[in-house]
Subunit: 400 residues, 2 copies
């Protein structure tokens, strides 16, 4: 499932474009532009890494100051992180040049970068390319934009959802990139969401945080956290519905739809984890608290030994037990049950099968590991993927 | 450096043996025995995983109850973990049978296991093999014992150190196994240390904890923590030196020698990490506290992206910066300097080199990453290795 719709996704009032600015040596598209015809409310969630890339710093400032915007300019191939004062100037220049070409204020342009850390941004190439990106803007360009933000991703990640408010039908559409450096809180993952639905700034911020918490923040590819993670949402209100306020009925409807978008984009990122062959969902039930459940799920999703075992289609549940044991959560070994998909592997802390496992149990592309701690009623789920030789190969030589 | 001595290492009053009991399908040696002619003081440090293997539970109990011993029986090929009540009985049976063959009390026998989790121990095979292990005991057998405790290790890990007290010369010798599941506090790593030096129980315990803290507990191979980690020390006092008391001058001499043994065994474990091609020492200086320094060093040593980059001989220092940023320690990006071996890569938070790196910088077998946080005077070091396709291959099919 590379995208939910076979037909082109459009969102009223939004245009997209993507071109090759020559940042990636491969010549692939590396500059994407998202444009809202009307001024939109903009909210964002960013990396919690203490070392933040220059564009992240710029966006945080813009949202803090006014939280309005009309455009997002995104480059792949260079992260513009650890680039000092020059990096900040480059990020601002990207915004200024985009604004000039669009005929809007620079403060209404948000900036995002992904790629190698520590190299100066080839700002001249980007400046030169921006007018072309503006010229190519199209309401049908979302797939192009999704492809231009890719680094080691192997497919574009797009998901859209329509919701009805009375007789009006609004759209939420998002694009994302992921692949590596994903953990524990949003790592080089970028996600841009646009909607024509009218939402108050407070409601938009709250819904975004909720949605991110249960999706991107529950996603583990490796154990690294990027300097560049960004989720931005633009709501231009063109639907002209009565603006959605926090904690109203339409708010919950909006939040659920937004969560569906971010959860499905997260799943696509996990499925497309660097070198991954399997999407793995770790579901921990029977915990005393949700935080306990999350901690256990996250520890398992982080375990290199569990992830290599699943790659090898080896039902090595001992590694899952070991991970539960070092998760830091109070457990009772004798109460733990473990299922993989529908098959019980562990019952009350010890092996539950004696026969050979069904051959196809671990050959599936989607694996659910279900742990019941037997201690309470809370649960949590975390998305991850298996760990393969290809992950190593990709990351051993990722310098270009 | 597989061992410090070309000549056979012996320790007065200790004998060793190793045989194949048929636990490993390969037919390699899988049962080791260490025997002290005199009753020895025994101290230990064990996994902090909440799920502990049966033999670990037995040893903890023995040390708590009397802290004396004469033998350690160790099998590889099966961890005897997550094996319920049967596992506990099997571990005790291993001790009982060893004691019978040796003609000593079962309470004086310690037990240790390493290998696959969750399968019942083939106790009949072990029982049958024990008399042969006893028969083969030899004061020159330490290398054999070191090879019988190996799982995915590629070489035996032995280190010995002589120390002089007045006109008497004592010996501390240790064997260890490591390879995978090593982190953050002692993971399937086993280490057995013997000494003829007379040490009081309190001093032995304290010196062991100190030594382990700066060596095995600073060792990171992957991010998994085993259910079986064990460091045991036996001091039989045959040297007849005046028993070493805590915080005396001889104590500090003893502690330094013991630390040298454990640190060198740790280095061997890191160099022999599953699939590793390089030994990596992460040194963090200029921290406000030692705990800050350790946290940063540990985060870098855990980073899959840093470790794959070093495997690929790629000077991707951005990943080191990112790891510093998410270590959870308060840092100042503009004060960070990074060296690899003697070459400065980062100065005040940004790239310090513009030319091509010397080609041989990262081709070395030993790499030191030196980070100066520029905030204080404290430092810490952590040992690790690079992350390679071979690690994945080893762990994708480790079921035998």
């Amino acid at each position: 499932m590379k995208s939910t719709n076979k037909t082109t996704i459009t969102v009223p009032g939004f245009k997209f474009s993507a071109i090759s600015a020559g940042i990636k040596k491969s010549g692939l598209k590396d500059l994407a532009l998202i444009f809202s015809e009307d001024k939109a409310i903009v909210k964002g969630v960013f990396t919690s890494n203490k070392i933040k890339a220059a564009p992240v710093k710029v966006d945080i400032e813009r949202i803090r100051k006014r939280g309005k915007g009309q455009a997002i300019i995104i480059n792949s191939g260079n992260a513009n992180a650890c680039t000092g004062l020059r990096g900040l100037k480059d990020a601002k220049d990207m915004a200024i040049n985009t604004a000039k070409s669009l005929g809007i204020l620079a403060e209404l342009v948000y900036v995002s970068s992904t790629g190698l850390i520590g190299r100066p941004l080839p700002i001249q190439k980007i400046k030169k390319a921006i007018p072309d990106a503006v010229k190519k803007l199209s309401s049908r360009g979302i797939k192009n934009a999704a492809s231009a933000i890719m680094t080691t991703d192997t497919f574009e990640k797009i998901y859209s959802k329509k919701i009805r408010f009375g007789n009006k039908q609004g759209t939420i559409a998002g694009i994302a990139k992921g692949a590596g450096m994903i953990s524990p809180h949003m790592a080089t993952m970028l996600c841009f969401i646009v909607t024509d639905i009218s939402v108050t700034p407070g409601a938009l911020d709250s819904a975004l945080r909720q949605a991110v918490n249960k999706s991107f923040n529950r996603l583990v590819i490796d154990n690294d956290m990027s300097t560049n993670d960004t989720v931005l949402i633009m709501a231009n209100g063109i639907l002209k519905n009565s603006p959605i306020k926090k904690n109203s009925l339409p708010y919950y409807k909006f939040e659920a739809a937004l969560s569906e978008v971010t959860y499905n984009l997260s799943k696509m990122i996990a499925r497309d984890g660097e070198g991954a062959t399997k999407l793995i969902e770790v579901i921990v039930k029977g915990a005393r608290t949700e935080s306990d459940a999350e901690k256990v799920a996250r520890t398992i999703a982080h375990s290199m030994l569990v992830k290599t075992a699943l790659y090898g289609q080896s039902p090595n549940w001992g590694r899952i037990m070991a991970a539960i044991g070092y998760s830091g959560v109070k457990i009772n070994e004798q109460k733990i049950n473990i299922h993989i998909n529908k098959l019980e592997l562990v019952n009350k802390g010890i092996g539950a099968y004696t026969n050979r496992l069904p051959g196809n149990l671990l050959s599936k592309k989607e694996i659910a590991i279900i742990i019941d701690l037997g201690l309470g009623k809370k649960e949590a789920r975390v998305l991850t993927c298996d760990l393969t030789e290809k992950y190593i190969r990709i990351n051993a030589c990722y310098m270009t």
